[in-house]
């Protein structure tokens, strides 16, 4: 078949760190390595770099810099936010509201809390992946202490009505956390206007480094620590500061939010061309997620009669990196909980493909995928006992 090259369509999983970001980080490995929590000038320069990054993160989401806490990634941010609020407010109530389509870093924390005396309502979503605001309102009880709803879904890209959710939470005096790991760098965020009380983000999703993220905690919100120890991060998150990571996170989020609209426009155009091409060329295909309220780089489609892992493997043979919501690909043997939540039957969910575009995507990539994907799907269908031509 065609010559093999790297067509990276898995930006939603992780992506590269921009060379400009790496460059900003470099001096902090070998030269400006001083402990940001130390007294001496050399360490205070590190501290200053940390504080600059904190401001960059704060600015990107409309927060104040003393509301930003650096953590190791999206999972830690989610764990801290949810457990930290749950434990700190358990005297007020033991009820948490979330959705069925959260990332596992939220869902498994909720399950953990259920095993520890909390009650969790998992809101359902419609076929496009949107929650129902009335259902949310009805779910609120006297005991509700936290609403945690993701900003944008990592699999199907659906963007929730965050400002509306924030308004409801604020009116009812309930703390509102949003997992914005997929949203930052793709959607304009303003924690003030949107009444967000806590927000998780992770550097590696917007061309920052891996191993660094942040939790925004609105001033005055009571929260228990997750990592106890030294007095770093104003005594809320122990551990020697990951200086290069923090500096890189700051730079990356600044770059990502500076020209958000142009960037999105470019990605969205390519995405739409790819999506339309797929829908035209491949029969028995269903788009998953909301047709408009979705992340600019996200495509999620189900091809009937075939299974996702074998699809990925064939794509991989042609140099295309993508992901699927099929059981067999992830070591777990269930199809994606997100695809089931939007009402896909298991067998259709197994045949799903996520192509997530980003900075590395070119028009040639789109051409190439549009050329080979229909053939691959056809080949697999011809092998499938479910498919009748």
């Amino acid at each position: 078949m065609e010559q093999k090259r790297l067509i990276y369509m898995d930006h939603a999983a992780t992506t590269y760190t921009k060379p400009e970001v790496v460059e900003t980080m470099m001096p902090f490995f070998t030269e400006q390595f001083g402990n940001a929590s130390s007294v001496y000038t050399f360490g205070r320069k590190s501290k200053a770099a940390v504080e600059t990054a904190r401001e960059q993160v704060a600015k990107a989401i409309g927060a104040k810099s003393d509301e930003i806490y650096f953590v190791n990634g999206g999972s830690e941010a989610d764990n801290w936010a949810i457990k930290g609020i749950a434990w700190a407010h358990r005297d007020k109530g033991n009820h948490i509201i979330t959705t069925k389509i959260e990332h596992h870093a939220v869902l498994h924390v909720c399950e953990y809390l259920e095993n520890n005396g909390f009650e969790v309502t998992y809101l359902s979503v419609d076929e496009n992946g949107l929650i129902d605001l009335d259902e949310l309102k009805r779910a609120i009880t006297d005991k509700t202490i936290l609403i945690t709803i993701m900003f944008a879904n990592n699999e199907i890209g659906t963007i929730q009505p965050i400002a509306e959710i924030g308004k409801i939470a604020r009116e009812r005096g309930i703390i509102f956390h949003t997992d914005a790991v997929q949203a930052v760098g793709n959607v304009a965020i303003d924690v003030e206007k949107m009444n967000i009380d806590l927000l998780s983000l992770a550097g590696h999703k917007f061309y920052g480094p891996k191993g660094i993220g942040a939790l925004y905690i609105r001033k005055g919100i009571k929260i228990e620590n997750l990592i106890h120890g030294g007095g770093q991060e104003r005594r809320r998150r122990a551990g020697t500061e990951n200086l290069p990571g923090i500096v890189g996170l700051g730079k990356a989020i600044e770059m990502a939010t500076e020209n958000l609209e142009e960037h999105n426009e470019k990605i969205r155009k390519m995405r739409d061309r790819l999506l339309n091409g797929i829908m035209e060329k491949i029969p028995y295909t269903k788009l998953n997620g909301h047709p408009e309220k979705r992340l600019p780089g996200n495509i999620n489609v189900s091809f009937k009669f075939i299974e996702g892992e074998s699809l990925l493997l064939m794509l991989d043979q042609l140099g295309i990196c993508a992901s699927t919501g099929s059981a067999c690909s992830s070591g777990s043997l269930d199809p994606s909980h997100v695809l089931l939540a939007i009402g896909l039957p298991h067998e259709i969910a197994h045949g799903s493909l996520r192509l997530s575009l980003g900075d590395l995507t070119t028009e040639e990539d789109i051409d190439y995928v549009l050329e080979v994907l229909p053939k691959i799907v056809q080949r697999l269908r011809e092998m499938s006992p479910l498919y009748e031509d």
């Binding site: 498994h108 399950e111 009669f305 075939i306 299974e307 996702g308 892992e309 074998s310 493997l313 064939m314 043979q317 099929s326 059981a327 067999c328 690909s329 070591g331 777990s332 043997l333 269930d334 199809p335 039957p345 298991h346 067998e347 197994h350 011809e382 092998m383 499938s384 006992p385 479910l386």
Partner: protein
């Protein structure tokens, strides 16, 4: 993750298709679980003259189907019946532990096809000790 042999049989599967006038057909698996394997046999004088498969499933399932059909082609029914999933996996230079069950599917589908043939021939079906193949997945939420 997969051996070269697996990738070869996955990318260039042998014996894909249907046998229209097969005299033994077996299907195992469950679309809900993401895997269905269907084996078509053409048996003559107790010998598997031809075999074809159709599989909906992961790479390991497709490669196992391909390898298993290769291994039983031209063999007696007894030989084919005695083909274990381990033998299929070994012939593929191994499968990842989580993927071993995909080779079990192949063994199961062959058994079903052979018994289908035996029943059609008015013979007693052989006793199959592979059970529950249509819902072999442990659905756990972890």
């Amino acid at each position: 993750m997969y051996s070269d042999k697996v990738m070869d049989h996955f990318m260039n599967p042998r014996n894909v298709g249907e046998i229209v006038d097969a005299n033994g057909v077996g299907e195992v698996g469950n679309a809900k679980c993401g895997d269905i394997m269907k084996i078509y046999l053409e048996v003559e004088d107790n010998i598997i003259k031809d075999v074809k498969f159709k599989t909906f499933g992961c790479g390991a399932a497709i490669a196992s189907s391909s390898m298993a059909t290769e291994l039983i082609k031209g063999k007696t029914l007894e030989e084919a019946w005695n083909l274990t999933n381990k033998a299929v996996a070994e012939a593929l230079d191994g499968l990842p532990p989580v993927k071993m069950h995909c080779s079990v599917l192949a063994e199961g589908a062959i058994h079903k096809a052979i018994n289908d043939y035996r029943i059609r021939m008015g013979l007693e079906p052989w006793e199959d000790n592979i059970t529950d193949l249509d819902d072999h997945h442990h659905h756990n939420n972890e």
